[in-house]
């Protein structure tokens, strides 16, 4: 035994395995994180079952079980308690004030799954779990009891949704257009006032616009009222304690009985949740609904940033490799690139605030938008400044990747081209650039992945918790670069840490985290795949 031990020691196997354990730990950490995120996020998408928890004091709680933890013993330090408690999401925030409740396991008499129960996803106040007493349409009672009502509502829901869509369109698009026009009139009038023109043909024409627009608004208002009054269906809800509540059908987003779901139903629900998550707008202070504006904002910012960073990065890389004479200049540029890569992201953010927002933005406001002052147009955070800041941050990534590609292009190709009489530019444009394109793309994708994940500089240059509109809409100039936007990474920070209802927000944050991780990993894998293909391509075409 001793000899074996000595042999192992001398061979150094222990240390080899130790180092391997270091690698193993890193791998386990990575996998554990991904696993943890997926597990927690799936709670958000997969339909849970509604249970009835009957307590020993003869009361009952209706809801979904979320968590289970050990109760800490606050009094007696020596004992480790073996008691647990469960967290139940019972919804009905408007009735109970809190939609999550902890119940000690020792107080539970029994738990069973009721057959007849309903879960309603509402526009306000979150989920409702309970029973439906009846469905009314105006004064008539159309259905009784939970099962019948459920069917009746499922039948009525499509029409209700259509009317909701129409209402939303009238509000957002048509009334929105009128608001937009009125604001333009106000700004034009103010502009004329600043130029000391307070009377005259222009002023009169503008002033006449206002009552015209107001008349249009009144018509739309009437239309809205008509639409709203046409939604006559109502549900009479009943909680497990017997409390009743009236809910208009227009408030219902989705209704289902999770306890009656077959596996196929569950999968369908799962798919639908994913679709809602990606395509819907957020509700209830970002704790419910979807993250569509955040996805949109992230993608738009990444696109604008790429358009800015790629040309500069490619030019700089070409300069370093192809055009610069070896000497001090190249070293300086290289040092600059390395430092740009190493500078903390928050320093870029501060530079963005100091230079882009206050200096550039302030000047632009003074020159082009004086009528809107003191409300800043470009003198405050916005998607343009955020994209510029991120472009600065990710330029080194593009440069490094492009340089790598340029180094891999065989020298012989360039020399052959020059020998045949092409100018340097023609060689670059027609021979080198096409072969280095994959590297540029790789760099671009890596830059996009980095931009999707960085949050710190965005926090101070234009990302907000909730943006009322998207940066792209139907009004000229269609893309509004001064608007603030939402970002997936910031969404994680904000919903996870600054949410009014932490329990409700938790599954949402994990889902958003999963989405962001998937996005970033996908981009990185695409870059790796491109890089590998490029390597194969170039090694094959060895000149």
């Amino acid at each position: 035994m001793q000899k074996v031990g000595k042999k192992i020691w001398q061979r150094g196997d222990l240390f080899i395995w130790w180092t391997g354990a270091g690698l193993a730990l890193s791998l386990i950490m990575t996998v554990a994180l991904l696993f943890g995120v997926v597990l927690n996020a799936s709670q958000f998408f997969w339909p849970g079952e509604i249970q009835v928890v009957s307590l020993k004091d003869n009361s009952s709680i209706l809801g979904m079980q979320m968590e289970r933890e050990m109760i800490p013993d606050l009094g007696d330090v020596a004992k480790k308690t073996d008691t647990y408690r469960i967290q139940i999401k019972r919804g009905n925030r408007d009735i109970y004030n809190s939609d999550f409740i902890w119940v000690d396991e020792k107080d539970i008499k029994s738990i069973h799954l009721p057959d007849e129960v309903v879960a309603i996803e509402r526009r306000e106040w979150g989920y409702f779990f309970g029973h439906i007493k009846e469905v009314r349409d105006g004064d008539k009672v159309v259905a009784h009891g939970t099962t019948e009502s459920l069917q009746a509502i499922i039948d009525k829901l499509p029409r209700s949704k259509t009317i909701n869509e129409q209402i939303k369109r009238v509000q957002k698009k048509e009334i929105g257009t009128i608001n937009h026009k009125m604001e333009r009139v106000r700004l034009k009038l103010k502009k004329l006032t600043l130029a000391d023109i307070t009377t005259g043909k222009e002023v009169d024409a503008l002033k006449q616009e206002i009552p015209r627009l107001q008349a249009e608004y009144k018509i739309l208002e009437k239309k809205l009222t008509e639409l709203r009054t046409s939604q006559t269906a109502q549900l009479v809800l009943q909680t497990i304690e017997g409390k009743e509540k009236l809910l208009p059908l227009s408030q219902v987003l989705d209704i289902y009985n999770p306890n009656q779901f077959s596996l196929l139903d569950k999968v369908v629900y799962f798919m639908r949740s994913i679709q809602k998550f990606i395509c819907d707008d957020p509700r209830e202070a970002n704790t419910e609904g979807g993250v569509f504006p955040a996805i949109f904002g992230t993608i738009l910012m990444v696109l604008i940033m790429s358009m800015l960073a790629t040309p500069v990065g490619v030019l700089a890389a070409f300069y370093l490799r192809e055009y610069a004479r070896q000497g001090a200049m190249v070293s300086i540029v290289r040092i600059a690139v390395n430092n740009l890569a190493g500078v903390p992201s928050i320093v870029f953010g501060i530079f963005g605030v100091g230079f882009f927002i206050y200096t550039l933005g302030g000047s632009i406001d003074q020159l082009f938008f004086p009528e809107a002052l003191p409300t800043p147009t470009f003198g405050t955070g916005g998607i343009l400044w955020a994209s510029l800041t991120m472009a600065l941050l990710t330029v080194p990534v593009v440069i490094v990747s492009t340089e790598e590609g340029l180094a891999a292009v065989p020298k012989g190709i360039r020399e052959a081209s020059l020998a045949l009489g092409a100018t340097k530019f023609e060689t670059t444009w027609r021979v080198v650039l096409p072969s280095v394109m994959p590297s540029v793309l790789t760099g671009l994708i890596l830059a996009m992945a980095r931009a999707a994940g960085e949050v710190a500089p965005l926090m101070i240059t234009g990302v907000v918790k909730l943006a009322p509109t998207l940066p792209i809409d139907g009004f000229w100039p269609f893309i509004h670069l001064e608007r603030k936007f939402m970002h997936l990474g910031f969404h994680i920070y904000d919903v996870g840490f600054q949410s009014p209802n932490v329990d409700a927000a938790r599954p949402m944050v994990f889902a958003t985290t999963l989405l962001l991780i998937l996005m970033v990993i996908f981009l990185n894998m695409a870059a790796v795949y491109l890089r590998n293909r490029l390597r194969k391509q170039l090694t094959a075409s060895a000149v």
Binding site: T19, L33, Y319, N338, T423, F425, I460, V520
Partner: protein, 751 residues
């Protein structure tokens, strides 16, 4: 000729363009080439320009913090007689002077006298003493033994074209008779607040008259006055030479010619007065007592010219002591003039020949004004917006200086050394940028933040460097090449994880788990080592099981062992906790080591930042280990060394510059990391090395405070300074790493 040209147009030469076309085309092509060169060069310049721009913008924003304050003489005008006190409006257009025969208003803008308002029941008295508060509430002591409170208001009015005029108004209150024998009132003090005002005046030797006027608003909207007047006797050695009300403790503080400072409790004036402080030596009289903004720091001026700040500290129930905080630059003779700023802790002291501007928080004297030879200063005041000084001298001249001093509390000293703030027992490094009121003293020391950055980085490196180096070592030296192709991208995927995700995970998942399983975590290295030993022995002894760990593929078994070891150690940890650690490791830590355990602490941050840094260090270290020339490894093995010996004694030293460079770059990344630190620490700016409590880093501080900092204000500029520090730190670290890496490359070329 025509034959030739015709010939040229047929056959294989027909496709060649003629010379004219060729020469035009080449000009265009060369021009395009030149333009392209310029464009590409500009790309390089843009990069240099960006880095320089970042540097300049950041330095430009914080540089004004350190500029010296300046004073320029703006104008002078003559008053009708020598004033005892002066005051000025916020826009520096109008001033008032309390002169012997009443109050006069002057226009500084037009440099002339405006008016002398009528004061009812003046009875041709003369002003013998005055106490003016900075808010322009005056109490005049008159020669016939009366005190006369009054308020001066500067009311702005705007005409149709928004031009502003300031109109001075005098609003008088009722006068009170203090000295029944008609002797003049020379020494007095007052305190005015929403409830009314109190006046103290010396009525005779050792006697002080207290007048208290309470204003109560009735429901009808009128104000009801209730007046009370009494005399208290304060037996002191020498004469009472200075008086001031202490609003915070409802006291009256008296300074004597002997040099002592007494405290009279106004809730119980009959109770004997307490001695709370004194000047440096007995016999040096107290010439002035005054509080700076906030009513906390008391400035004592004495007849030697010394000026020092003190704070009233409670020693025991009902007993107080004045603790000296700072000594300011003294005057040559006694200083008896005083004025405070209503915006910050700045104040003026004046002697006959000199006026000095001091700042209470830092103990610095910032500016000094001396008077022309034949005159002496009689009255001074600070302009309300802290942008000017108005002084009157014995020649009856009012001098107005404009001051540019926007950041009075800023200096290298206040940012990087200990400062004695109000309410603290000793000088300390504190970061507390905002508080509840306008009178809050901002505590802006960068030291806790720099400490926090270093602490976070250190713990992160402590966790990440061993793991990353081990992993790089194993991957480059002992791993099967096929497996390497899968493992390397996986670790690089770790680098792709956004830091906000890591921070969120750390704060919401890792922190609670670490809190529960801390003993298990501590046991893990030992348990895993034990398991490895066990596995090795089994592997050696039982040849049949050799399939488990082929050379180069041990990683599969190791993942299993590490995972198992982790679970085992967590389980053992709970056992250990309940048996040895009193059931809860937090309590045990508190009792045995006196260490508090915060859920979000440096350990959690270390783990999370490890996630972020490990892939960086791993990639570079693995690259440099793999780049060691193959013949070195081959020759070492050929000479009979084991793979471990080769790796440790041959490869590692050769690659050590690269590994060092990797660690430096990881260090640089850790210093600048923002989101993880923001979310996983408690963001508390404390200065403790304990791994179990939090910290606040420079980067997280910027992210948190910048949205709330008013543009161009002190906090705003300090945050730019913090960004500059981060920039410099990472610049230095990256440069060192780069230099080392270049040197290494040269070395390898030799091999």
């Amino acid at each position: 000729m025509t034959d030739e040209t015709q010939q040229n147009k047929s056959g294989p030469e027909a496709s060649r363009p003629d010379r004219a076309f060729f020469s035009r085309n080449i000009v265009k092509r060369l021009l395009v080439n030149r333009i392209a060169t310029g464009v590409v060069t500009s790309g390089g310049w843009i990069i240099i320009g960006s880095i320089l721009a970042i540097l300049f913008v950041i330095v430009g924003e914080f540089y004004p913090l350190f500029k010296e304050p300046t004073l320029t003489l703006d104008r002078e005008l003559k008053t009708r007689s020598v004033p005892l006190a002066v005051g000025i409006d916020p826009y520096q257009e109008k001033a008032y002077a309390v002169e012997k025969d009443g109050i006069r208003f002057y226009s500084l803008l037009d440099k002339k006298f405006i008016s002398q308002p009528e004061i009812p029941e003046w009875n041709s008295a003369q002003v013998t003493g005055v106490f003016a508060s900075q808010k322009d509430f005056l109490v005049l002591g008159l020669s016939d033994g009366r005190i006369y409170p009054m308020q001066i208001e500067f009311r702005p009015s705007y005409d149709s074209e928004s031009r502003r005029t300031i109109e001075p108004f005098l609003l008088v209150e009722d006068a009170f008779q203090i000295q029944n024998d008609g002797s003049p009132v020379t020494l007095l003090a007052h305190l005015k607040n929403e409830q009314g005002y109190q006046i103290a005046a010396q009525s005779a030797k050792g006697q002080v008259s207290l007048v208290s006027v309470r204003l109560r608003k009735t429901m009808m909207g009128t104000t009801r006055k209730s007046i009370s007047q009494k005399t208290i006797s304060v037996p002191v050695q020498g004469e009472i030479t200075a008086m001031v009300f202490d609003e915070a403790h409802n006291n009256l503080l008296l300074g004597t010619s002997y040099g002592q400072i007494f405290q009279v409790d106004l809730d119980d004036p009959e109770h004997p007065s307490q001695l709370v402080g004194a000047t440096r030596r007995p016999g040096v009289a107290v010439t002035h007592l005054g509080f700076v903004l906030g009513g906390y720091s008391l400035i004592v001026s004495d007849s030697d010219g010394a000026v020092f700040s003190t704070q009233l500290q409670k020693i025991s129930a009902g007993k107080f002591k004045l603790t000296k905080i700072y000594d300011f630059q003294p005057h040559e003779n006694q200083s008896h003039l005083f004025s405070i700023s209503l915006r910050n802790k700045g104040f003026l002291t004046g002697s006959k020949k000199m006026v000095r501007l001091h700042y209470g928080t830092t103990g610095e004297t910032q500016l000094s004004l001396s008077v022309p030879d034949n005159a002496e200063y009689k009255a001074i005041t600070l302009a309300p917006k802290f942008d000017g000084i108005l002084a009157a001298d014995t020649t009856g001249t009012l001098h107005l200086w404009k001051m540019n001093n926007p950041y009075p509390q800023m200096s290298i000293k206040s940012l990087f050394s200990r400062v004695w703030y109000e309410g603290y027992d000793e000088p300390d490094y504190v970061w507390q940028s905002t508080g509840g009121s306008d009178e809050f003293e901002s505590k802006l020391s960068l030291v806790p933040l720099i400490f926090g950055t270093l602490k976070g980085t250190l713990y992160a490196m402590l966790f990440a460097v061993p793991l990353a180096i081990f992993a790089a070592f194993y991957t480059s030296q002992f791993m099967d090449p096929g497996l390497k192709r899968t493992i390397k991208p996986t670790i690089e995927m770790m680098a792709a994880l956004p830091s906000v995700v890591l921070g969120f995970f750390a704060a919401l998942v890792i922190a609670p788990q670490v809190e529960t399983f801390l003993p298990g975590l501590a046991l893990m290295p030992f348990v895993v080592t034990g398991l490895i030993l066990l596995a090795l022995l089994v592997h050696e002894k039982v040849p049949a099981l050799k399939f488990m760990a082929h050379s180069g593929k041990e990683i599969y078994l190791l993942v299993f062992i590490t995972f198992l070891g982790g679970l085992l150690s967590f389980w053992m940890g709970t056992l250990v906790e309940s048996s040895v650690l009193m059931g809860d490791h937090r309590i045990w830590l508190k009792q045995v080591f006196e260490v508090t355990y915060d859920q979000r602490n440096a350990l959690v941050v270390g783990l999370a930042m490890g996630f972020a840094i490990i892939p960086i260090i791993f990639t570079i270290a693995e690259d440099s280990l793999s780049n060691v020339p193959g013949h070195l490894k081959a020759s070492s093995l050929a000479l009979g060394a084991t793979p471990w010996q080769t790796a440790l004694k041959v490869i590692l030293p050769t690659a050590s510059p690269g590994i060092f460079s990797a660690i430096m770059i990881g260090f640089g990344r850790a210093v600048g990391e923002t989101m993880i630190v923001l979310m996983a620490t408690g963001n508390t700016p404390i200065m403790e090395w304990s791994i179990f409590n939090g910290f606040r880093a420079l980067s997280a501080n910027i992210a948190v405070e910048l949205p709330e900092a008013p543009e161009g204000g002190t906090l705003f500029r300090i945050l730019f300074l913090a960004a500059f520090l981060l920039f410099v730190m990472t610049f230095v670290i990256n440069t060192i790493a780069e230099v080392v890496r270049l040197r290494m490359r040269k070395k390898y070329q030799g091999l």
